[in-house]
Symmetry: C3
Subunit: 147 residues, 3 copies
């Protein structure tokens, strides 16, 4: 009798999946699809953006927090771009992934040269729901802020 089993993804497969996930996730944020971005967090997720204050909690809470934060862009139009790089993926025994990467946040105001808004380290816990990855948590530290 043969039992067909779904093989656990290899470290390599998970690595590419994370790169692909981040590309789509952060594009949603930069395109200001806040609802889409919030949906990349689990219902019980925690998100600490590193700029001070309590972490945002729950998907609904994260969406509210994002909407408040993005209000400033109504009167100060700008394109933000989150470039993630140097991604480290550490698969955990429970199937979750601990990941860490650098983030360069670029800001472009109409007609102006791009500026680097911040240099950050992003530490995530990613889990699988159905066939896709979601953030169970995200903790951001911003370089130079607590120096």
């Amino acid at each position: 009798m043969t039992t067909v089993q779904t093989q656990a993804p290899t470290h390599q497969e998970l690595y590419f999946e994370v790169l692909q996930y981040y590309a789509r996730q952060m594009r949603m944020l930069d395109d200001r699809d806040l609802a889409g971005y919030a949906k990349t967090f689990t219902d019980d997720a925690e998100f600490d953006h590193g700029a001070g204050g309590e972490p945002m909690r729950t998907r609904a809470g994260i969406l509210r927090g994002l909407e408040e934060f993005h209000e400033q862009f109504e009167t100060d139009p700008q394109q933000r771009r989150h470039h993630f790089s140097m991604v480290d993926v550490q698969p955990q025994d429970d199937g979750s992934l601990r990941t860490s990467c650098y983030a360069l946040v670029l800001l472009v105001r109409p007609g102006q040269a791009p500026e680097i808004r911040s240099s950050c380290v992003v530490s995530d816990v990613l889990v699988r729901e159905g066939d896709q990855l979601l953030n169970r948590s995200r903790h951001v530290t911003i370089d130079g802020r607590h120096g």
Copy 2:
């Protein structure tokens, strides 16, 4: 009877291939190997660099356009570096790939600090000819330009 089939590449395999392809393609451009760069486009390719004007068309037309554009660097020596990141790869049913990524264009003049020339979004259609990928089209939008 067993039929040996070449399996279609997985999303993950394609993702890796695109990263490797971009590294070599853009290195050619930054090294000013314009002929090499032009050869990464199909004969009937279309390339819109986002700075205005009609898109360049055909491989020969793209090479001419690149040569004209690069003439300015003869009197203003500079090293440009195209950093692609946040690559999103969407395999299509016809075997082509729709990809999208961020591009950070860096410029370094001799003895000066690097500056960010532009922040762009690159949207490509990649096709396979023989065993390698080529650009059937490339459309670039430059952040802040139409703000």
Copy 3:
């Protein structure tokens, strides 16, 4: 009779491994874990950081060179971030890897905006010892320095 062989890793597997390796290697440097970073070089490695002078040689020599270089940061606190991108991996017949990538070196001083310190091209020879990659050599060229 079937001979079970360990298959040589594919280009794709090597590519992923290099990305993962760089993420951890450069994080050690940016976290100023100089001993950890030096251990990513082979005993007989050569490291030319591109800023002039003789290349550093041997793992012990590299560690000494790094310690001297990092002394300046004691009186000028700063967070450096090495962003590698556009990684090109060329597997060699002897099992080593020739890799090349761009490096963007960011510097953040406490309370200040991030600045781009340098734009570099990194050329490595990576070899496998046991089950991990190590640098047998690293040669860095800094854009604009010899313009």
